[in-house]
Symmetry: C2
Subunit: 416 residues, 2 copies
């Protein structure tokens, strides 16, 4: 197998090859990159049998079942979806070489700020093998070399996918590197490779993200944790509030933009709490709450202090009655992970105050938290949702996979 040779490389050698490849990738034209992406999409479909064979072996070895097995499982249908996602990335606009600003200084120097690729992008992720392809395609489209460190359950699937991508004719040697997933040493080496790696993006659970944040020496983009709030104001359209809460909590409870907390203004709590709690429970949601909400609605379990900080990622929600907009904002700024928060209200002043004072990546007035997503924002595919304030905040996609550079043209200027 062609991949056998690369398996023998050390992590450092792989990173050095990625560095060399990044210089080649940075110079590819949009047309060249798109052609490579379309060829990769075709190669994934053509290589379906290899992928399925590797995946079958992964599943056998993992001993997983149920939802965990399903996350790992690949089918011809899923491979086809993956290939189509690659074709969609090919169709997106290329951010590289965009001139962001251009000006001339009094001394005649002409300064231009241009978008350039980041260089070498590392991704550390967990079981789902489709991330191998999604992340690599976004990185490549933005002119970056990509270093992938997936979960060990998907080791063979990821290897099959990475080999197919790396072996497409025209993909620069070293552009797609897969690190050994059988040891945590490779994560350590990746996140400490200052000078070789320009950014590492952890995609996965809180433990993975914390580990990377804690140990990384290279820049990291923190993603994902979403303890998202919905505040139903006293001036809310309660029917709309009801619809938004049910959607944000139940439409896909395992994702970071699902709602986890419901704050209800005390003036409408008597009218709103009992029906929404009943509907949530009917939808299979475990409802926890403070003492006031428990008085107003039957079936609410007691919430502890820890509940207000927890990201459930499942059919569970905690409800709290607040006496004012200010109390809602204060609660959110104290407990949220700064991902996505909603106010439902027909009072514009209250809405404006909420949008201004709530310190989160995405703040909504009268809409579901579930829209915090690159696709829903119109960015195309996304790498994740950043909850940090540096570099990018909120959904990050192609544009956020770039850096900038200043090009300055003079006529012999010197500084006096």
């Amino acid at each position: 197998m062609a991949g056998a040779a690369t398996v023998a490389l050390s992590t450092k050698e792989k990173l050095e090859r990625a560095r060399v490849a990044s210089a080649v990738l940075a110079q590819l034209s949009t047309q060249e990159k798109n052609r490579l992406l379309l060829q990769i999409a075709d190669a994934l479909e053509a290589g379906g049998a290899n992928i399925l064979r590797a995946n079958e072996e992964d599943i056998k070895r993992s001993g997983l079942f149920g939802a965990m097995r399903d996350r790992l499982l690949m089918t011809l249908g899923r491979i086809s979806e993956m290939a189509n996602a690659v074709r969609e990335v090919a169709a997106l606009p290329d951010p590289v070489n965009e001139v962001l600003e251009e000006w001339t200084r009094p001394n005649g120097l002409r300064i231009r700020k241009v978008r350039v690729p980041l260089g070498v992008v590392g991704i550390v992720y967990e079981s789902r093998p489709n991330v191998t392809v999604d992340a690599a395609m976004l990185a490549l489209k933005a002119g970056n070399a990509v270093v992938l460190r997936g979960g060990k359950e998907a080791a063979l699937s990821n290897q099959a996918l990475a080999e197919i991508m790396a072996q497409v004719p025209g993909v620069p040697a070293g552009a797609v590197q897969l690190l050994d997933s059988s040891t945590r040493d490779t994560v350590q080496e990746l996140i400490r490779a200052r000078g070789l790696v320009d950014v590492v993006i952890p995609r996965g659970g809180a433990a993975l993200i914390s580990y990377v944040m804690e140990h990384a020496v290279v820049p990291v983009i923190e993603t994902g944790a979403g303890n998202c709030h919905i505040f139903v104001d006293e001036a809310a359209d309660l029917e709309m509030a009801n619809r938004i809460v049910l959607n944000a909590k139940t439409q896909r409870p395992s994702v970071c933009n699902a709602a986890e907390k419901l704050l209800v203004h005390s003036r409408i709590a008597a009218a709103f709490a009992a029906p929404i709690v009943r509907q949530l429970i009917e939808a299979g949601v475990e409802v926890r709450g403070d003492s006031e909400s428990r008085l107003l609605a039957p079936g609410v379990k007691i919430a502890t202090e820890e509940d207000w900080d927890e990201e459930y990622l499942r059919l569970c929600i905690a409800v709290r009655v607040v006496s004012s907009l200010d109390e809602a904002i204060e609660h959110i700024n104290r407990h949220s992970t700064r991902h996505s928060e909603v106010i439902v209200t027909s009072n514009e002043a209250n809405a404006r105050k909420f949008l201004s004072l709530v310190d989160s990546a995405a703040v909504y007035w009268n809409a579901s938290t579930r829209f915090t997503d690159g696709g829903e924002f119109g960015f195309g595919a996304e790498m994740g949702v950043s909850t940090q304030k540096l570099h990018c905040r909120g959904p990050f996609a192609l544009r956020e996979l770039t850096s900038t550079k200043y090009q300055i043209i003079g006529t012999g200027q010197i500084r006096s």
Copy 2:
């Protein structure tokens, strides 16, 4: 003394106060922030006697002399310069609340990307006390709380300056925090305070920056190291090249945008090398070089492999003869710290190739490296020069002290 109370706070308490202050600062209007800055400028001048007394004690305790003492020394003139720098920051445009983009999705959601303050900005720096004021003013103007951790030699000076700033009426409580400089523990606490600190900026020597990069858990902006190159192409105007090299090396050799390496195309090396080396030596520069440059110019000492990676930050330069533009680009991309690099040439194709392929924050055609500076770029005062690719690259000033937020207005949209 009013400052005595704050000295007793733990680092964690100071960071928590800064966090609280950041929410207040984020809501100040441009007018309010500018008024505070002007009051601070006046207060610094009014407090001159206190500052000088503290500084005198610092100097006595430090035992420093010569250039080191001069870096630490404050005079009424320097205090006045400092105050004027604050007035200049007040006059700069406010980046906060700028709407960067605004669009409507097919489902009717209106999305707006707005500039917001970063929140709590930490700065770790070395001896010069003026950084205490410069950095704090830039952070405040962009609506951030600032946590300062200066060098221990300037402890009393920094305390006097921080107290004057913090005590100006209207400055939110906690907005300017000074950490204890007598122990490295405070640096550790600052750079590991995930959730309390949004970014840490190290300003100082390579050892300080490495220490912060190595141990930080919060996001960091890497600044400063500049192993900057000038390549004199075969098609260069040699008189212009001569002027640029002398300026970039000697005008202020201790700063990060000074030139450290000179690459000379072999075709013009015979004509160019001897005169420039002679003039550099006359200007007090130690010149090192490869064997070819040593054959061409008298007085060149032997350069070792380490020389190509070293940032001298003093009157020293290393010269190398290269046989092509490609060799120059390859040498630069291998050895530079990605700060600032120059090509001197009258060949536009060569210049364009250099501007495109050299992977540095600022790439110049026919100008001195010394222009990589917020002021010279027209940004006003700067925080430093970023040599990393995330968040900001090159000179970073007010705009780069902000983050963004998405504000989304709906009419009850839910996701299907």
